[in-house]
């Protein structure tokens, strides 16, 4: 065995190669998750194609922890649609039903009023100060599909950051250090 081969052998046996392979695998998992999410964004035309229901305001239709699939197409918003909207001063999107629509004849601008099925009154108290109507730009998407319970994992993780870090840490270690 010549000097060259010997050197190559010793490089191959270095743990750095294993480590790099695992790092690439880990990267692949992260990147494919991102790719799936981005593709969904393009297909559905909505900036957040999936939302988790956070409140009971649409009970008994949607409960906390359920997941909604959103779609955003050119169809005009009409009464009865369940829309997800964001008002300027609130970070968290709200999922409620449209109960009034007024579409302007000259400009085509729509004024929309929403209400949660389980709430006694309409959503004006949730809107920005003195805001009476939602417009198209407040609306993130329209709910088209429904999956129960699937969102509980995210709610638990978001409300207990400690669990989140422990879980991410463990998963990371498992992916990096296991050899198949």
């Amino acid at each position: 065995m010549g000097l060259f081969e010997e050197t190559m052998e010793s490089i191959k046996s270095l743990p750095i190669r294993d480590f790099l392979t695992q790092a690439i695998n880990f990267g692949m998992i992260v990147v494919s998750a991102l790719m799936i999410y981005r593709s969904l964004m393009i297909i559905t035309g909505s900036e957040s194609p999936v939302v988790v229901v956070l409140s009971g305001s649409m009970e008994p239709g949607f409960a906390r922890g359920d997941i909604l699939l959103l779609h955003m197409n050119k169809d005009r918003i009409r009464a009865g649609d369940i829309v997800v909207f964001k008002v300027n001063r609130r970070e968290i999107p709200i999922v409620h039903r449209v109960i009034q629509v007024h579409e302007r004849r000259d400009t085509g601008v729509v004024d929309v009023l929403t209400k949660g099925d389980n709430n006694p009154g309409d959503d004006r108290p949730f809107y920005a100060h003195r805001q009476l109507w939602l417009q198209q730009n407040h609306i993130v998407g329209r709910a088209v599909g429904f999956v129960p319970y699937l969102g509980w994992a995210t709610i638990l993780l978001n409300e207990n950051p400690v669990i989140k870090y422990i879980l991410i840490g463990t998963l990371g270690c498992v992916i990096i250090f296991t050899k198949d």
Partner: protein, 167 residues
């Protein structure tokens, strides 16, 4: 290779895959149900018709509703949200859609009803265009599934002409 973790992973993956397939099939089976909805709505009287301080017309109505939504229910139906909306156009707006009354039906046995109701939400116009206006009543139903696709549909009901003067 045949460690505990490996087997657990295989079982969980297979179980969630099968569950996803079953859920899709359940939702797909809804395509085979084409509901025929019978309904009738009749306005009985105008309770209140006035111009608000903001200048918008406001109307409160009483109407009779009879409807049979039994055919909308399948094994994948969680609830049917049914509402009566009015539609009309004005000089300013090409479409005004205002929900007047809604109701949640969770069981098929409660889906046939005949009732006399007053408007749950007042009919408020953007402006004062409602005197003598003919409005169209439309029944909408929104089927919310146990899992999968949501289904919405509507049926045009009777027309009603509002009075020429405020009460």
């Amino acid at each position: 290779m045949h460690s505990f973790g490996y087997r657990l992973n295989t079982i969980l993956t297979a179980a969630s895959f099968i569950l996803a397939i079953l859920c899709s099939l359940a939702s797909f089976s809804d395509y085979f149900n084409v509901p025929t909805i019978n309904a009738h709505i009749e306005v009985l009287k105008v309770n209140r018709f006035r111009k608000q301080l903001t200048g918008n017309d406001e109307v409160s109505l009483t109407f009779n509703i009879s409807m049979d939504l039994q055919s909308a229910f399948t094994w994948n139906t969680k609830q049917v949200f049914v509402f009566v909306a009015t539609e009309y156009d004005t000089d300013k707006n090409s479409l005004n859609q205002i929900s007047l009354w809604d109701h949640i039906i969770q069981e098929k046995k409660h889906s046939k009803l005949q009732t006399r109701v007053t408007t749950k939400y007042p009919l408020i116009d953007q402006g004062s265009n409602l005197r003598g206006k003919q409005i169209q009543l439309v029944l909408h139903w929104y089927i919310m599934p146990k899992v999968g696709r949501m289904i919405e549909d509507k049926k045009v009901m009777s027309k009603f002409s509002l009075p020429e003067s405020y009460t």
